[in-house]
Amino acid sequence: MTVTTDPVALNEWVPCAWHGQIAIGAALDTMIFGQDIRVERTGDQDYRVTTFGGDSPRELPVQTRYTCVFTTLGDDPRALPEIPEFDEADRRITGCGRVGVNTSPYRIVENFLDMAHFSFIHTDILGAADQTEVLSYRTEHRKDVDEIWAIDCTFYQPAASKAAAGGQLTKYLYRVMSPFSVMLYKNVATDPSRNDAICVFIQPRRETECLAYMPMAIVDEQSTIADIIDFQQSIFLQDRVILENQRPALLPLDPTYELPTRADASSIAYRRWLKAMNIRFGILEKQAA
């Protein structure tokens, strides 16, 4: 495809590499929204992002946060979200590299928001085959920050995290910070007063071709970083099989095209929000009847 002209999609910050992926002095060619870009690492914490191919090259804004290098093609982008957990000294902060997923970015966000698939796709880890019920939860559009939240979520999990010693009723909070980023807070097995923070930031290469980055700020004194990454990647690879086999890959916003139930309240709120912001990139165009 050519570079998207959708101003809504263009005015978002998206990741284009993870910090550490590129050696100092080296560069990585990649793509966002159909635009070829080059990510050069000019110093330990310094990156330079430029477009190439097509129009005359231009330099793009860049910032490094949450283990990722972010850039944007927009002139007036929505700010990156504030996630204070990443500043807490005792947290284990890690990304999980990046995983290619051939679908639209919104399918990835919806899968992350969804508790009803735990028992079927993450059986004996995030869900049990005989405890499939999704109890009612609430969703909110927080207008001050323009984010979608799902609160009071609970689900029985046989092995909720690398640190979990057995089954637990996990409490979740979900937070959609932008069309291309989502995170959750889930209660920590060892300390009921704290929440693990797990994010997904999506780099849309093209409408149905994405790279997913999973920065995490975890409370876990025991596990190695490699174990924590391994757990998260195993979960995500189980999801990828699903994500790449949903049809169509583009997200339909017409509520009669895909039929939700109460457990999909967060997906319903997300789709309404996308519709209201009139985003077009990666969205299924209305089909003629």
Partner: protein, 222 residues
Amino acid sequence: MSVAQGRWTGVALDHQIQPASSNPVVLNGQALAVWRGEDGPVRVWEDRCPHRGMRLSFGFVRGNTLRCIYHGWAYGADGQCAEIPAHPALAPPKTICANSYPAETRYGIVWTTLGDGASGPPDLGPDEGWEGVRSLFVAASAEAALTALARFDFGAGATTRMLAGDIVEVSFGPELRMLVVVQAMDDERAALHAAAKGARATEERAALAKRLERLRADIEQA
């Protein structure tokens, strides 16, 4: 697509659609889930769960319901959603229904149509005694496959006859007949499904399958 939407086409061999299985099939660019319950007939549905679009050919069968692998939603033989595991006490609304196509097994072959199915699958005589030989998948259009099939030399004494637009009968004398049905998958891929009948059908099955492999090489070289 060149194949008329209303026409019935063979899309699988009956014996290949195992009990309690769901299988992916592409017909004229349309993705289908061809599945069978623990017993009973083969069903042909759109390969898409009405909930979140997951392919139903990835689904699993329990009893005579097909369950979507993503959230376990169960669909009965009529396509109606019968159970949503996230809400065990909820009776699913009637609006949640898998999109189904007409399906019939005849001559050892599973037939379907993307049209209304009013005409029924082709009538090529009595249904008894046919057994599946094999299915072949070729990197060629259905037209190219049919052209090569009509010209193919199946050996001494074999005569080839076009029965309908996409069905060929190969006769090897009074004791052996073979049907070959060509299914358009898309513009560049086709499937061939062959079934045989006659006193020598069982003993010749392996030899027929070998000849069909040579036919595939012919089609793909054309």
